[in-house]
Symmetry: C2
Subunit: 339 residues, 2 copies
DNA sequence: CTGAAAGCGCTTACAG
DNA sequence: CTGAAAGCGCTTACAG
């Protein structure tokens, strides 16, 4: 089937190209009769507008790029789903890319995004590539960052209060009587990792608990590493009475290790995690969570995106920090303190 | 920051536009010195090619559209992740859209896809919109369908053998001694729904089991409806000894209902599901599954996509049907048959 | 090895 | 209400 262009439609309908343009864009004056004729030709020929040509001319692409770390991450995709709804409702569509927390991949993706002339970028950044992201901003493309800060550049930002969440989680375990707490954290290379780590550490110090450094394990946000770290904790001579996992992916590894050791969650070891409620809904016993406000984040990001896309003038970057909420399940036990 | 085009680079480097084009595309003869000059200008000005203009000229967009039913569905996103890897490796990038199993939405998405001049379409179709999908094919865009057939049009197709999977699942329950089996199926509006339904029904008939129509419940592939249907089954005067759930989303509803009734999976009622292993990994007791071959599907789809994208001539549509495998967990109990 | 020129498919003032 | 024409930013033969 030969490619059919606006010219073909014009010829078929016996009008000019400009007139066809007016009908497909539904703007400018077009006579009723002409309209009908053109519509008929469009149908008959199976014409659809070439978005590339249109974008080139109008320098508006109607595309929003969403760049996230992992496409198969349930939490991130819940947010992406919210975004897609908004993006569509605003008359745009979504380009989805992922970077797997690899800065090189992120850079390559950002390059593509630049080339695609997108109208906005929503990103779960690695934290790096500040220069490139700065360039994108200077080109007039709004950048909305979710969950993490980009180093060395200010962007719109929506995230939960990682430090607060971690701090409160430890406080909660302390309240239940725990004094030896294992912490499985990601790393300290980006804001989310640093803040969740620091919140936990500060709470442990402030509450005068065992500052046993062997209880604090880095697991790079990976399930496999969290599994190994948890194993180490469980098999150590003086294991913790509770384990705090700083992220969803790592929590899988933690739970696997506990099960594999034949331990009962809560009874033998308390487990609490920073995470997404929906994702852990069917786990038994119900997981105690510092619950990420997925819905709120999605909504706030959508509002911000809408404002950016529709704003006639620029406005200062917004930083929206949302406090997560502790949702107790049945995975943490009260410990009687021997004095 | 003013938009910088190839012209600006040309002027800055003191060469022609054509020469700049050669260096950014890395083709044709360019003198060493010129090359260096141009590169420097590109860097200095922060130039990046306008993909819209490029596509317009070359009528190749380097875009692959992936249209799925639900962005936050873990199973689908696992496949999408595989696809993204391939797409990137082939030098393309991915546009992701979703249709929520709504034919109107699917049609709108297909329209966008057509306008975007994508080089290929990977789709989890609703089953409808055969006409539009036919049009897309006639425009020379390869269409690769996953998991479901498109009605009234032949496309490349990769799916598991839904009928076989359902049939074998019932056979397995029969083998364990179950004679009253509840079936929660999606609907019969598309191929996946019909085939999974029919496989179960045929097995029940063939094995001479209770053909009690009140045991067979339609739940529209929705968690909420599966929950209600399961409740009905559990509360009926003569409840089934086992329930077969035809899909991941519905399985959530089934499990919730069982728990809410205070019943123990396996001991009180056996549960088996058509589904994705990774998704149910942490559920206790381990769910018995007719396991979807996610990996295989992803790989086969990737290979097919690669062939379509790189083929110099057309070839006949491929239909790849993969047999799912029964993976017993601990969610089904052996029943002693009273005779 | 380099440049000038045509043209991809559209939109947008502008003239009528 | 309609059409002719310029031009968006590129690539691609072609000539030199």
């Amino acid at each position: 089937m030969k490619k059919v262009t606006i010219k073909d439609v014009a010829k078929d309908a016996g009008v000019s190209v400009g007139t066809v343009s007016k009908v497909i864009n539904n703007k400018g004056y077009v006579g009723k009769e002409t309209l009908v004729k053109v519509m008929a030709s469009i149908d008959r020929l199976g014409y659809s507008v070439n978005a590339n040509a249109r974008s080139l001319k109008s320098s508006k692409s109607n595309k929003v790029a969403v760049l996230i770390s992992d496409i198969s991450n349930f939490y991130l995709m819940s947010i992406a789903k919210e975004m897609e709804k908004t993006i569509r409702a605003l008359g745009y569509h979504m380009i989805l890319l992922s970077h797997n927390d690899d800065e090189q991949l992120e850079l390559a993706s950002l390059q593509i995004i630049l080339e695609q002339q997108v109208d906005a970028l929503v990103i779960i950044p690695t934290g790096g590539n500040g220069e490139m992201i700065g360039l994108i901003k200077r080109k007039g493309i709004p950048v909305i960052s979710i969950d993490r800060k980009v180093d060395d550049v200010v962007t719109d930002l929506i995230m939960d209060d990682h430090y607060y969440g971690s701090f409160e989680t430890i406080k909660y375990l302390h309240l239940l009587g725990h004094r030896r707490i294992g912490v499985i954290y990601g790393h300290r290379q980006n804001s989310i990792g640093r803040e969740r780590y620091q919140g936990a550490i500060d709470a442990i110090k402030q509450l005068n608990m065992d500052e046993d450094s062997t209880l604090i394990k880095e697991a790079n946000f990976k399930e496999e590493q969290a599994y190994r770290s948890t194993m180490e904790l469980l098999l150590s001579p003086k294991p913790p009475t509770a384990i705090y996992s700083c992220n969803n992916t790592m929590t899988k590894g933690v739970l696997k290790a506990v099960r594999e050791q034949g331990l009962r969650v809560a009874k033998d070891v308390s487990i609490i995690a920073f995470g997404d409620k929906a994702q852990w809904e069917l786990i038994t016993p119900a997981l105690s969570l510092m619950a990420q406000p997925v819905k709120r984040i999605g909504i706030e990001a959508s509002i911000l995106l809408k404002n950016r896309l529709e704003a006639h003038e620029e406005f200062a970057e917004k930083q929206i920090i949302i406090k997560p909420e502790l949702v107790p399940g049945n995975s943490c036990q009260t410990i009687t303190i021997r004095s």
